[in-house]
C-alpha cells in the first residue's frame, strides 16, 4: 500500500548499515547544534512514528498529537541517547511510552473498541469492504492492547513499529530467542482473545 509508511527493518541489510553510519553523523550534527540536521531527522522518521502510533490508537488526529509529544520528549532526552540502537528504535520506544501514558491518563482514555472508520487513502476498495476490514482490524487492535505488557510491546514493536526481532531484543535486554517465544505466546493469547470475542 503506497501510503503505508516504510520502516527501517524492512530495508535491505546493506541500506541499514549505510543508514546506521549516516545516523551517527546526523546525531553528531544535532549534538553540535545543527538545526538542519534536526529537521532532517524529523523528515526521515516522522511518518514512521506517526504510522506506528496510528496503528496503536487508530485515530489520525490523536496519532499526530502523540507524534508531536514524542518528538518533544525526544529532544529533551537526546543528550541521554547513547547511539547504541537505531534512532528510529529509540524514537519508537518513546512513542510507545507516550501512547501508554496517554491511555493511562484519567479522563483521556482511548476507547479500545473504537470502531470509527479511519481515514483511508484514495483508491481504497468499496465502502463495505473497508468497513468489514476496519471492523476486523479494530477487533485485532483491541485484542493486541489486551495482551500483557511485555507481549504487547513485542507484538506492536515488531508488526506495527516495524522493528526487527534483534532490535527489540536489544531494547528489552533479552535474547532474540526469548523475543520469538514472546511472539509465539502472544499469538496463542491473541487467538484465544479473538475467539472469546466471537463467542
Amino acid at each position: 500500500m503506497a501510503n503505508v509508511a516504510e520502516f527501517p527493518s524492512r530495508q535491505p541489510e546493506g541500506d541499514i548499515r549505510a543508514r546506521w553510519g549516516e545516523e551517527r553523523q546526523l546525531l553528531e550534527a544535532i549534538r553540535s547544534g545543527d538545526r538542519g540536521a534536526a529537521e532532517e531527522l524529523v523528515d526521515r522518521t516522522y511518518s514512521a512514528v506517526f504510522a506506528s502510533l496510528f496503528r496503536l490508537c487508530a485515530d489520525s488526529d490523536l496519532a499526530a498529537d502523540l507524534t508531536q509529544e514524542t518528538y518533544q520528549k525526544a529532544w529533551a532526552a537526546l543528550p541521554g541517547f547513547d547511539g547504541r540502537s537505531q534512532l528510529f528504535t529509540w524514537l519508537y520506544r518513546i512513542a510507545y511510552t507516550t501512547f501508554l501514558n496517554h491511555i493511562r491518563r484519567p479522563r483521556r482514555v482511548t476507547s479500545m473498541d473504537d470502531d470509527r472508520v479511519p481515514e483511508v487513502s484514495d483508491g481504497a476498495p468499496s465502502a463495505e469492504q473497508v468497513l468489514s476490514a476496519n471492523e476486523e482490524s479494530a477487533r485485532l487492535r483491541a485484542a493486541v492492547l489486551r495482551l500483557p505488557d511485555n507481549l504487547r510491546f513485542t507484538v506492536t514493536a515488531h508488526f506495527w513499529g516495524g522493528l526487527a526481532v534483534k532490535e527489540i531484543a536489544g531494547l528489552e535486554h533479552i535474547t532474540t530467542v526469548a523475543i520469538r517465544k514472546r511472539l509465539h505466546k502472544a499469538f496463542t493469547l491473541l487467538e484465544s482473545i479473538l475467539d472469546e470475542d466471537i463467542t
Binding site: R35, D43, S60, T67, L78, S121, A133, R141, V144
Partner: protein, 462 residues
C-alpha cells in the same frame, strides 16, 4: 495454534492500513525543535560532570566503609578465640557471682501458647572464660579505628545499687518499688521455661559461642532500634499518598515508625537511660484488649555511643494474658550500641483473661545495658499490673494516647483495624491541645484517610 491461523494473524497484523500523516505535521514537529540544541548538549556535559563527582564521593564512602568493615572483621577474628567456651559453661542467671566474665544474650522464645503456662521471652546469661588481655587489645584497636562500635566487655559484671534503685514501677502512677537485682530471676519465669531455654542453648553451642564471642561492631542503624522501625519519613510517605486520594498500600504503612512518629516528646535534659512504661485499654477496641507502651530514651548530649549490649526482655504472665502481639514488628532485637539522643517506642497489644484481680502482674519489662561511663551493666525493670491495664484510655498520658491512636490509625490503613470513630477520636485529641503539631497531623490524616474509598483489606502491615 495451527500454522495457518498464525500466518493469518501475522498477515492481519502486518497489513493494517495507515493514512498519510496530516498536512503540516512535519512543520509542527520542526517548529518544536529547541532553538538552541547546543544548550541541551551543554546540560548533558554538566550533568555528566556532576554525576562523575557524585560517583567519586560514593566511591570514597564505599572505600572508607569497606576499610572499617575489614578492620572489624580482623578484630572479630581475634576475639573468636576468646569465645571458645564449651556448652557446659551455659549457666543460669541466678548462679552466684564469680570472677569470670559474663555477657548477656537474649534468646527470644517467642512462644504464642501462653495457655500452656510458658513465658514469652526469657533472658539468659551465658558465661565464658575470661581473656582480659585479648579483649583489652581489641578495645585498643577499635579505639584507634575511630568508629562507632559497641563492645561487650568481659569484665566481671556487677549491678550497682543505683541501677537497682531505678526499678520503680512507673505505670499508672503506682510507684511500688521493685527489686531488680541481677541475681533475682524474672518474676514470671517458670522453672519449666528456664529448663527449656537452657536445653536449647546447650543443644546449640555454636550459636551461643557466636553471639557471645563476637565483638559487636555495629554502627547503630538510624531507622531501627531494638528491631523497631523509627523511620522519621514514614508518616510523610503515608500522608502524601492520602493527599493524592489514594489508600496507602499495606506494605508502605510502617506501623512501628508511625507509632514512633506520634510518640515523640521533647524530653530535653533527661539523664541516663529511661524506660517509660504505660498501659491502658486500647482505644476503639474490644473491652479485654489493652495496649502496653514502652519507651526507651537515652540522655541528651553530643552524638556518641552511650551504652552497649542493650536488651529489653518482656515477660508476660500466662495466667492473665490470652494472646499478645508486638505492633509493627515481629520481635524485639538486642541493640549492640545505644547512641545519645535516641527515643524508641513500642506497643504491645494484649488480650486479657476475664475477671483477673487488679493486683495481678500482666507483664514485666526489663531493660539491660552496659553504660560506657562506668563500664557496668545496669538494669531497669517495670511491672505492669492488671489495675494499670484496666485504666481508661482517656485518662492515659498524652504521649500514650497519641502513640496508641497512631497505631490504631496505622492498622486501619492496613485493613486490620476498623477506621470507625478513629477520625473523631483523633480530632478530639487534637482539640485538647491545639499547639500539639503531631496531634493535629494525626487528626488531619485520620480524617482524610477515613474519607478514602474503602478498597478492603490489602494485607497486614509490618
Amino acid at each position: 495454534m495451527n500454522q495457518n491461523r498464525k500466518a493469518d494473524l501475522q498477515r492481519k497484523l502486518s497489513m493494517t492500513s495507515v493514512p498519510k500523516p496530516p498536512a503540516g505535521l512535519s512543520e509542527r514537529l520542526k517548529a518544536d525543535i529547541p532553538k538552541n540544541l547546543m544548550s541541551v548538549e551543554r546540560n548533558r556535559t554538566r550533568f555528566s560532570r556532576s554525576a562523575t563527582f557524585s560517583l567519586g564521593i560514593a566511591a570514597s564512602i564505599i572505600v572508607v566503609i569497606s576499610s572499617a568493615y575489614i578492620a572489624l572483621q580482623v578484630l572479630s577474628h581475634s576475639d573468636t578465640k576468646i569465645a571458645s567456651a564449651p556448652p557446659s559453661m551455659v549457666s543460669r542467671r541466678a548462679a552466684p557471682a564469680s570472677p569470670q566474665a559474663e555477657v548477656t544474650i537474649t534468646l527470644a522464645e517467642n512462644k504464642k501458647d501462653l495457655d500452656k503456662g510458658q513465658v514469652s521471652e526469657v533472658s539468659k546469661v551465658v558465661r565464658r572464660d575470661e581473656n582480659e588481655e585479648a579483649f583489652a587489645d581489641a578495645r585498643k584497636k577499635i579505639a584507634k579505628s575511630n568508629s562507632v562500635v559497641a563492645l561487650e566487655s568481659p569484665k566481671e559484671k556487677t549491678e550497682p545499687a543505683s541501677a537497682v534503685a531505678a526499678g520503680a514501677v512507673a505505670v499508672g502512677g503506682a510507684a511500688a518499688p521493685v527489686p531488680a537485682t541481677a541475681e533475682a530471676p524474672a518474676p514470671m519465669l517458670t522453672r519449666q521455661a528456664e529448663d527449656q531455654v537452657a536445653d536449647r542453648a546447650a543443644a546449640r553451642p555454636e550459636a551461643a559461642t557466636m553471639n557471645v564471642g563476637r565483638i559487636a561492631g555495629t554502627v547503630v542503624p538510624p531507622n531501627e532500634l531494638f528491631g523497631l522501625s523509627v523511620d522519621p519519613l514514614a508518616f510523610d510517605r503515608v500522608r502524601r499518598e492520602i493527599e493524592q486520594g489514594e489508600r496507602p498500600a499495606a506494605r508502605s504503612v510502617d506501623t512501628s515508625a508511625l507509632i514512633n512518629y506520634f510518640s515523640q516528646r521533647d524530653t530535653a535534659g533527661r539523664r541516663g537511660v529511661q524506660l517509660d512504661v504505660e498501659a491502658s485499654r486500647a482505644p476503639l477496641a474490644p473491652e479485654n484488649t489493652a495496649l502496653v507502651r514502652f519507651t526507651i530514651e537515652t540522655p541528651r548530649g553530643a552524638p556518641a555511643v552511650f551504652a552497649t549490649g542493650a536488651d529489653l526482655a518482656i515477660t508476660l504472665n500466662s495466667t492473665a494474658v490470652i494472646t499478645h502481639r508486638l505492633l509493627g514488628a515481629d520481635e524485639l532485637k538486642s541493640q549492640s550500641a545505644l547512641l545519645t539522643n535516641v527515643s524508641v517506642t513500642g506497643l504491645m497489644d494484649v488480650k486479657l483473661r476475664p475477671a483477673i484481680s487488679p493486683g495481678t502482674t500482666i507483664a514485666t519489662l526489663t531493660l539491660r545495658y552496659r553504660a560506657l561511663s562506668d563500664d557496668r551493666t545496669h538494669s531497669i525493670t517495670r511491672v505492669v499490673h492488671a489495675s494499670d491495664v484496666e485504666r481508661n484510655w482517656d485518662s492515659a498520658s498524652r504521649r500514650h494516647r497519641l502513640a496508641t491512636l497512631g497505631a490504631v490509625w496505622s492498622e486501619s490503613l492496613t485493613g486490620t483495624a476498623s477506621p470507625d470513630d478513629l477520625a473523631r477520636t483523633a480530632e478530639k485529641l487534637a482539640t485538647e491541645e491545639p499547639d500539639d503539631l503531631r496531634a493535629r497531623e494525626l487528626a488531619a490524616a485520620a480524617s482524610a484517610s477515613s474519607r478514602l474509598r474503602s478498597s478492603g483489606p490489602t494485607g497486614s502491615g509490618r
